[in-house]
């Protein structure tokens, strides 16, 4: 339900993976003597000098430092975006005409009210709600933890009809999109059961 950096992760993995794969294959090609056919200077029994000579050039330490800083910044930024984000909507502006006054409402407040409404539903043990979008085009993300013996279809219908209806009525606009994720609440009474996924 929370937003993750899925696209960035896959792009990063593909780029780093490709670079590492090509580097590794290049080293193996030279090491096993396959590269000598194309570049005679890269014999398998030759020393690493042609490659390491780059490190002996003037200013190579400064260049290495700059590369290290760039790599560190990229790695730290990549690590920082791994924390899943709720990304609530910005406060909704509810007024029809700003000249007569402003009415703003925090999305978290509405989400909390919707969660309370959900938890009052039979069969729902716990609920988390995220509200995104705008006041005129809101998107509701709902995760409910249902009782393991609850009627799931009836529960979904109740959420879509009554709870989402109440939210739509409170916001004064139809909900552009609603996503419902149905989890099952863990029960403590049945100790002999274990579940793996």
């Amino acid at each position: 339900m929370r937003r993750t950096a899925a696209a960035a992760n896959r792009t990063g993995l593909i780029i780093v993976g490709l670079i590492a794969l090509l580097l590794g294959l290049a080293v193996l090609a030279i090491g096993f003597g396959f590269a000598a056919a194309f570049l005679p200077s890269l014999q398998a029994d030759a020393s690493l000098d042609p490659a390491t000579a780059v490190l002996a050039l003037p200013y190579s330490a400064v260049i290495a430092l700059v590369v290290a800083v760039v790599l560190a910044v990229i790695a730290l930024r990549w690590l920082a975006v791994q924390v899943p984000r709720k990304d609530f909507a910005k406060p909704f502006r509810m007024q029809a005409d700003a000249r007569t006054g402003l009415t703003t409402m925090n999305a978290e407040v509405i989400a909390e009210a919707v969660a309370d409404d959900l938890e009052s539903t039979d069969g729902v043990v716990d609920a988390q709600v995220i509200l995104r979008g705008t006041a005129r085009s809101p998107e509701l993300l709902v995760h409910i933890d249902a009782d393991e013996r609850a009627d799931i279809d009836a529960l979904i219908a109740e959420v879509a009809d009554r709870v989402a209806g109440n939210a739509s009525l409170a916001l004064g606009a139809p909900l552009r999109a609603v996503a419902v994720e149905v989890g099952i609440a863990r029960t403590r009474s049945r100790r002999q059961r274990t579940v793996s996924v």
């Binding site: 670079i19 590492a20 020393s47 690493l48 290495a64 279809d153 996503a179 994720e181 029960t187």
Partner: protein
């Protein structure tokens, strides 16, 4: 709606964290050697090679620090081993990035009321396992249940002290199927039930 609100495939957070940490490690190592070379030589035009043995290095000893690389040749075991490990790690990272990964949710059909533009309903595979385990656990004679699921199938393994467990296995399978049939899945998961004799 063009994009779905519920994430169907894994985000590869674990592999991304590992690769990001490796990149950070490479950056720290490279930065360490670079700073050491600059500090040792005392000039900004210092080369990384030879004088990069670390703080306190006083000579361009080719066998120390990165200078030791020149003593190796391409067919030496260390170089080939390093190349093999780098290539393998690269291949794994590439495959993890390209492959979509296992679906983590199963879609459920639901009527969309007028006040909702687009309704998306799903059950995570972990919940499928819990639903199946709960249904199996209600059958008499079952002493313990394990269940594992992916988006299209669920495997339930139950233990029972009864020697002839086939009738119980059939009853458990019927109970799990009945529970799944009561939910309007887009594609109902297949159910496989296995019995295991437990000591009573």
């Amino acid at each position: 709606m063009s994009s779905r609100l519920l994430r169907k495939r894994p985000s590869r957070i674990g592999p991304a964290v590992v690769v990001a940490l490796l990149v950070l490690l490479v950056a720290v190592g490279l930065g360490w050697f670079a700073v050491a070379a600059i500090v040792t030589s005392g000039t900004v035009d210092a080369p990384l090679f030879g004088t990069a043995a670390g703080y306190g290095a006083t000579s361009a000893d080719p066998s120390s620090g990165l200078g030791g690389l020149s003593a190796l040749h391409w067919s030496s075991g260390v170089v080939i081993g390093t190349g093999l490990i780098v290539a393998l790690l690269g291949l794994i990272a590439l495959l993890l990035g390209v492959s979509p990964g296992a679906r983590r949710i199963t879609g459920v059909k639901a009527n969309t009321p007028d006040h909702i533009g687009d309704l998306e309903v799903a059950v995570p595979t972990s919940s499928l396992s819990q639903i199946a385990a709960a249904a199996a656990d209600e059958v008499d004679g079952v002493s313990g249940v394990k269940a594992s699921s992916n988006a299209t199938s669920t495997i339930v393994t139950f233990s029972t002290p009864i020697r002839d467990h086939e009738p119980i296995r059939a009853e458990v399978e019927a109970a799990v199927r009945q529970r799944f049939d009561a939910i309007s899945f887009d594609r109902a998961p297949t159910v496989k039930v296995q019995a295991r004799r437990s000591q009573s």
